[in-house]
C-alpha cells in the first residue's frame, strides 16, 4: 500500500516485516529514528523480538553477531563514528560467514565533527567482506532490506549485507513509499534456516584461530563468494520483481546512456538530482546520461564496462575520499577499463557533497561542463575559496 513515510520509518516498518529475532543498536544521528521506531514496535508487542540495549556500537555489533551465530535473524543500524566503532566486529561477522543486515545511515566522519551526509563511513568499510548496496530513494532503501536478507541467508552466499542510505536526505526525508503486506514479505522471505549455529545440544566453535596453514583459504573463499554475489543479485531482483512488481537491476542502472557522450557515475540519492539535470540537458540536445552503481561491494566491474564502453567521456562523482590517492569510486571505474581495448577516452573524477554540502542542479551542471578532453582527478565541486585563505593566527 502506498504511504507517505519518513525514510527511517519505512526502514523500521520493513525490518519489522522481515521478522528479526534479535535487534541491538546504539543511537547515533541520523540513524536514530530507525532504531527508536523498532524499539517502540518491540515495546508495543507489534514485533516479537529481543531488543538489546547496549552502551556502544561495539557491543551492538557483538550482540547481533551472537544472535545470528545462535541461528536467529538479526538486525542493527548505525552511522559514521558508530560504524567505525563496530569495525572490528563487522570484519568478524563477515569472516565467520554470518548472515546479517545492517543499515548505514550515511554520515560524514570526524574530525571536525559533522552530523550531515556524505558516504565516507560505509565507503571506508569497503574491504570488510560486507556486501554494500546504495539506495537512490526511500522505496529502494526499503526494498533493498528484503533483498539483503534474501541474499545474506542464501546458503551459497552467507556474507553480511550493508544497506546504505544517505543520512537526512533519505533517513529524514518523507515521501511516497509502497509498503508490502506482511504475507507478501513472508512469502518472499521465509524464516531463516541456519546451516550452522551455536547450539548446546550440538556444540560447534566459531571464529576460532586459523594459523598460516588455514587462514588464507578463508579469505579466498570470501573473495570467490563475492563473485557469486554478482550472479545472485540479478536473480534475486527478478524474483523480487515477480513478487512486488518493482524492477531493479540491483548492480548498476543506466539512465539515458545509450547514445550519450558524457556520463556521470554516482551512488545513492544524488542519482535523482543527476537524472533531473540529465533530462534538462537532453531537452536542450545535449547527449548526457547517468550510470548509477547500486552494488558497490562486490564491485560490478563487468557491468560497468558494458555500460560505459562506448561513452567518450565519463565523470565519477564521489561523496568520499581516499585521502592522498584517487577517489574511491573513481579508482574502481578506472581500474575496470585498464588494458581494455574499448572504453572512455576520459575518466575524470569529482568530489562533491562532503559533510552535507548541498549538491544542487548547478553542482551537477558544473560537473558536466568540467568534463572535457582534459582529464581531471579529485576535482572538488562547490569549494569556497574564501575559506581556504583563512590563516591560523
Amino acid at each position: 500500500m502506498k504511504e507517505f513515510l519518513e525514510g527511517s520509518r519505512a526502514i523500521a516498518e520493513i525490518v519489522k516485516r522481515c521478522r528479526p529475532g534479535v535487534i541491538s543498536a546504539y543511537p547515533i544521528t541520523p540513524q536514530t529514528h530507525i532504531v527508536e521506531d523498532l524499539a517502540q514496535f518491540v515495546a508495543d508487542g507489534a514485533l516479537k523480538c529481543e531488543f538489546v540495549n547496549v552502551e556502544s556500537e561495539h557491543s551492538a555489533a557483538s550482540v547481533v553477531l551472537g544472535g545470528v551465530a545462535a541461528g536467529v535473524r538479526s538486525y542493527t543500524a548505525t552511522s559514521s563514528q558508530g560504524l567505525f566503532y563496530m569495525m572490528e566486529v563487522l570484519f568478524n561477522i563477515a569472516g565467520m560467514r554470518l548472515p546479517l543486515v545492517l543499515t548505514c545511515a550515511n554520515r560524514a566522519i570526524s574530525a571536525p565533527i559533522n552530523i550531515w551526509n556524505d558516504q565516507q563511513d560505509s565507503i571506508s568499510l569497503r574491504d570488510s567482506g560486507w556486501v554494500q548496496m546504495y539506495a537512490e530513494d526511500i522505496q529502494e532503501a526499503s526494498d533493498f532490506h528484503m533483498l539483503a536478507y534474501k541474499l545474506t541467508e542464501d546458503a551459497s552466499i552467507m556474507l553480511p549485507v550493508m544497506v546504505c542510505m544517505d543520512g537526512f536526505i533519505l533517513t529524514h526525508g518523507i515521501e511516497t513509499v509502497d509498503m508490502p503486506r506482511q504475507e507478501e514479505v513472508d512469502k518472499f522471505l521465509p524464516p531463516y534456516r541456519p546451516l550452522y549455529k551455536l547450539d548446546t545440544a550440538d556444540p560447534v566453535s566459531m571464529g576460532i584461530l586459523a594459523d598460516p596453514d588455514y587462514y588464507m583459504e578463508t579469505r579466498f573463499a570470501i573473495q570467490e563468494t563475492m563473485k557469486k554475489v554478482l550472479e545472485k543479485i540479478p536473480v534475486l531482483t527478478q524474483d523480487f520483481s515477480k513478487a512486488f512488481g518493482r524492477a531493479y537491476n540491483g548492480l548498476v542502472e543506466g539512465y539515458r546512456i545509450d547514445d550519450a557522450e558524457k556520463v556521470i557515475v554516482a551512488l545513492g540519492s544524488v542519482c535523482g538530482t543527476i537524472k533531473e539535470v540529465v533530462d534538462e540537458l537532453r531537452s536542450k540536445g545535449k547527449k548526457v546520461g547517468l550510470l548509477k552503481i547500486t552494488t558497490f561491494r562486490p564491485f560490478p566491474a563487468q557491468k560497468v564496462q558494458e555500460a560505459l564502453k562506448d561513452i567518450p567521456k565519463v565523470a565519477v562523482l564521489d561523496r568520499a575520499l581516499s585521502l592522498g590517492s584517487y577517489a574511491p569510486v573513481a579508482a574502481e571505474v578506472k581500474a575496470a577499463f585498464f588494458g581494455k581495448k574499448k572504453g572512455p577516452k576520459v575518466i575524470s573524477s569529482f568530489i562533491a557533497g562532503l559533510g552535507g554540502r548541498d549538491i544542487t542542479k548547478d553542482s551537477i551542471r558544473e560537473v558536466f561542463s568540467l568534463l572535457t578532453a582534459k582529464e581531471v582527478s579529485c576535482e572538488f565541486i562547490d569549494l569556497k575559496p574564501e575559506l581556504l585563505k583563512e590563516k591560523y593566527e
Binding site: F4, I169, H172, E175, G272, E276, I359, K361
Partner: protein
C-alpha cells in the same frame, strides 16, 4: 513542481509542518518530498524544512533556493536574515506575526500574509505552536490545498484534544487570511 520553504527554530515543529503539508499533497494523489535541514543540532537553532511536490515522484534532492511559497514560523529569524531570499516573482509568503517584526520589501507580484498564528494557537491548542494555523493560512493564501484534506492530515497525526485544537487552529488561520483578502477588495 512546487517548492515550499519553511523557516523556524529547531523545536518549533517545522518538520511536523512540512510532514503535514506533505500529507495533504499525498492525499491529493501527488508526490511530495518533505525534508529538514538542520543547522547546529540543538533546540532554538535556525533550521529549515522543505516540501517539494509534483505530479510524478520527486527526484531532485537539493535544498530549496527559489521557493514558490515561504512559511516563516518564527519572525525573529527575519532579523538580519532574508527569509524571502529567492522567492519567486509571483511567490507567496505566510509569516507568523511577531511584535516589532519588520517585513522585507516585496516585488510587485509577490504577496505576504502576516498571521497571528501563535495567538490562534494559544486560544485553540493552549501552546504557542502556530504551525497548523499557518497551514490553514497557506490553504487560503495559495489555493493549493483543500481544508478537508488538511483536516484529514491533522486527524491522522493528532489524537484527542490536540486533534480538535489543531483543526480549530487551521480553520482560524484559513479564515484570517480569507477575511483579510476580502477587506483588501
Amino acid at each position: 513542481m512546487k517548492e515550499i520553504r519553511i523557516h523556524a527554530r529547531a523545536g518549533q515543529g517545522a518538520i511536523t509542518t512540512a510532514a503535514l503539508l506533505g500529507s495533504v499533497y499525498f492525499l491529493k494523489g501527488m508526490y511530495p518530498y518533505a525534508f529538514p535541514h538542520f543547522g547546529a543540532a540543538r533546540m532554538g537553532a535556525p533550521m529549515n524544512a522543505f516540501v517539494r511536490v509534483d505530479s510524478k515522484p520527486v527526484r531532485l534532492r537539493s535544498q530549496i533556493y527559489e521557493p514558490d511559497y515561504v512559511i516563516v514560523v518564527d519572525a525573529t529569524l527575519m532579523r538580519g536574515f532574508n527569509c524571502f531570499s529567492g522567492l519567486r516573482d509571483n511567490g507567496v509568503a505566510i509569516v507568523n506575526q511577531k511584535e516589532g517584526m519588520e517585513m522585507p520589501k516585496l516585488k510587485p507580484r509577490q504577496k505576504a500574509f502576516v498571521v497571528p498564528a501563535n495567538d490562534i494557537a494559544m486560544k485553540t491548542i493552549g501552546r504557542p505552536l502556530g504551525n497548523t494555523a499557518l497551514l490553514g493560512a497557506y490553504a487560503a493564501a495559495t489555493g493549493e490545498i483543500e481544508m478537508e484534506d488538511l483536516f484529514k492530515a491533522i486527524k491522522e497525526r493528532f489524537q484527542g484534544k490536540a486533534e480538535q485544537g489543531n483543526i480549530d487552529a487551521a480553520r482560524q488561520g484559513f479564515e484570517f487570511v480569507k477575511n483579510q483578502s476580502k477587506e483588501k477588495r
